[in-house]
């Protein structure tokens, strides 16, 4: 039993692979996070306002995504859909779609909880002032919800980031894929995956810091409290 971490960090090729993989993981997660948030806003609105048909569809979609594993969703999006509909995308395109769909379900539940925190009186006041429903939503409900739910959304985002490693299974050259490649070359599995774990932890800490900064910049009044 000897540990040989140096076999990883002394090889410039491996270091470059890890850096590229980490960049790929971060880029896909951030993009999927933003797109997922946009989709989640639509889902949460449909459910919150009990839009006929759409509200029920959104509820079913959210429940289905939340109660099935990401990997099954990923494989369906990457292998099932293209065969069914006859299109072909690069690996990262499938991963981005699957992650966006997955993230949106989790975010929508948080946003929906945020919508309920906006007091009924505010709706009435806004309507009394003659604001249109869309304006009320965009100017009054959404900012307050995002503001209140920002900490929950941030931690959810970081938890979801930690699950993205499985996109390596469909061939995306992310951080996990880089680790699997180095493992297949060096056979130092323990060292490689411990290093990978450390990189994931550091990246999630970086996301946490960045999101805390964003919170302070976007909502200075609340963060100061």
């Amino acid at each position: 039993m000897d540990l040989r971490f140096f076999e990883i960090y002394r090889n410039p090729e491996y270091l470059a692979l890890l850096a590229e993989g980490a960049a790929m993981s971060a880029a896909l997660t951030i993009t999927a996070g933003l797109m997922g948030l946009a989709l989640a806003t639509l889902l949460a609105t449909a459910r919150f306002h009990a839009v006929p048909v759409l509200g029920h569809l959104a509820a079913a979609y959210v429940e289905f995504i939340r109660n099935t594993p990401l990997i099954v969703q990923l494989f369906f999006v990457a292998f099932g859909l293209p065969q069914l509909l006859g299109y072909s995308w690069p690996f990262w395109g499938h991963a981005l779609l699957a992650l966006t769909l997955n993230f949106s379900a989790y975010f929508s539940e948080i946003l929906r909880a945020g919508f309920t925190t906006v007091a009924q009186g505010q709706y009435e006041a806004a309507r009394a002032l003659g604001l249109r429903p869309f304006t009320i939503f965009r100017k009054i409900v959404l900012p307050q919800s995002v503001q209140r739910m920002f900490p929950s959304l941030s931690s959810q985002f970081i938890f979801l980031f930690l699950t993205t490693g499985i996109i390596a299974e469909i061939g995306v050259r992310d951080l996990t894929q880089a680790g699997m490649f180095i493992d297949s070359r060096t056979f130092r599995s323990f060292e490689v995956f411990l290093t990978l774990t450390a990189i994931y932890v550091v990246m999630s800490l970086a996301f946490k810091t960045a999101l805390a900064l964003a919170h302070r910049r976007l909502f200075p009044a609340v963060a100061a409290r």
Binding site: M1, L3, E63, F64, R66, N67, T68, P69, L70, I71, V72, Q73, L74, F75, F76, F79, G80, L81, Q83, L84, N102, Y106, E109, I110, A113, M149, S152, S155, Q156, F159, L160, L162, T163, G165, I166, E169, T176, G179, D183, F187, R188, S189, F190, E191, V192, F193, L194, L196, T197, Y200, V201, S204
Partner: protein
Amino acid sequence: MREAFIAVFGRPEGIMLFQLVEAAQFTVYLSLIAFLLGGSVAACITLLRILPNRWAPRVATGYIWAFQSAPLLMLLFLFGLGVPRLLGTDIDPWVAASVALMLYTSAYLADVWRGAVETIPPGQWEGARALGMRFLPTLRLVVLPQVVRVALAPTVGFMVQIIKGTSLAYIIGFHDIMAIGKRWANAPVEGTEPFVVYPIMALIYFALCFPLSRLALRLEARLGSVGGPPRAAVA
């Protein structure tokens, strides 16, 4: 059983369905093992966390932080590939998957239960102490009965995360729904294309998880829960 599936759904769909349902039992077993082992460890960690001691709570906090921050996939790789290579021995996928899921489960449950214990106002601890009760009797007679109430809903909710988490174990050679389903999806057999197999697998997982999610919601409505929206979410 197998014949009944073939009689109803024909070949190869009947065979595939039977194998998937049969494999679902291993998903259930692994989830139960992870829950029982992880729950036991979590109980110890929670106890450490609230012990009136200088170091024990720090150790517990460190443990929770470490295994909550480490991706489950990495824990599986570490115990399924890393440790066997390091020690030069084979580790059964059952053992490796159980250990990885146990660590993952214990960290989350310990965090949930710590939150539940913290809902007890310090005045109750002080009151019990003023009545001459020691730490353990206070925990057992005063704190635990109240903690169980608020901890029940998030604990049941987390079982969904465990079941979904077991779907990653196929990567280290564990035979469950994922392993069987992936084999069928890759096989060039008509009627078991990926767009057929994966939705069926999703439905099996949904059938396992959805009742638990619903139960957690009902428990939360009846008994209350440790504050905040659901934190843990895993593929």
